[in-house]
């Protein structure tokens, strides 16, 4: 990423979701783009700010997600909304997902985030979200910037690709 010539392609991503499943698309695309020589900037806002926390503790919830079917004993287990009244369903689903991730050789979010840092991807936390949810900058990982919508727009206007995830 040392190449900052004008021919360098660039991409910005607005990251708005803070669950384990939704953490994947932005980090996979960002790290892959960087590996392909694209300059990447990620803007973390609302629940997406969870992905910048020093200690990641991401969870998934089957609630309101009829697309979630967990492979189990050669079949697929659907997660109807009614199961969400059972205490501990989110924790169980999260554990199941983490086991699958490991078993299938899928990177952990920690690993992808580390790769993002290594490939000099710019990561910006949303100031308004910090204020809104009363998070402290000290709770977030080192090396990130804090900014607002204008900071994002400046990046977006110069980028070849802008994604909202």
């Amino acid at each position: 990423m040392a190449d900052a010539s004008d021919n360098t392609k660039s991409m910005s991503i607005i990251v708005t979701k803070g669950t384990l499943d939704w953490a994947y698309p932005p980090f996979i695309l960002a790290t892959t783009a960087a590996a392909m020589g694209v300059r990447v900037s990620m803007f973390f806002t609302f629940y997406g700010l969870q992905l910048l926390k020093k200690n990641l503790n991401l969870k998934i919830s089957p609630f309101g997600n009829p697309g979630m079917e967990m492979p189990m004993m050669g079949m697929h287990m659907p997660m109807p909304n009614i199961v969400n009244v059972i205490p501990g369903v989110d924790a169980a689903a999260t554990k199941m997902m983490k086991n699958l991730i490991k078993k299938k050789g899928v990177a952990s979010i920690e690993e992808l985030r580390e790769a993002a840092v290594e490939s000099e991807i710019e990561m910006i936390g949303c100031q308004m979200t910090l204020d809104l949810f009363e998070f402290k900058k000290e709770d977030l990982m080192d090396g990130i910037k804090i900014g607002g919508a204008a900071t994002y727009m400046e990046n977006a206007l110069k980028s070849d690709i802008n994604l909202f995830i």
Partner: protein, 75 residues
């Protein structure tokens, strides 16, 4: 024989590409990297990676579920 071999077997998208990029950094221009992967998606992805970055995909083959890519570091 490649200059460096990267064993990416058992890794899923996007790790084979990320590891390959990392390995290419340490290989001088003109050097070669052999990547072994089991991710079926890697066949299309290494094609796309090489076309986009300008590195040369010299060979690719599949044998018993193991995909092999030979990449020349040109970019």
């Amino acid at each position: 024989m490649a200059d460096v071999t990267l064993d990416a077997k058992g890794l899923n998208c996007p790790l084979p590409i990320l590891r390959a990029k990392k390995a290419l950094k340490d290989i001088p221009t003109g050097g070669t990297l052999e990547v072994l992967a089991t991710d079926p998606g890697s066949a299309a992805d290494f094609d796309a990676f090489c076309r986009t970055t300008g590195n040369e995909l010299m060979e690719h083959s599949v044998d018993g579920g193991v995909y092999r890519f030979l990449i020349k570091h040109t970019a």
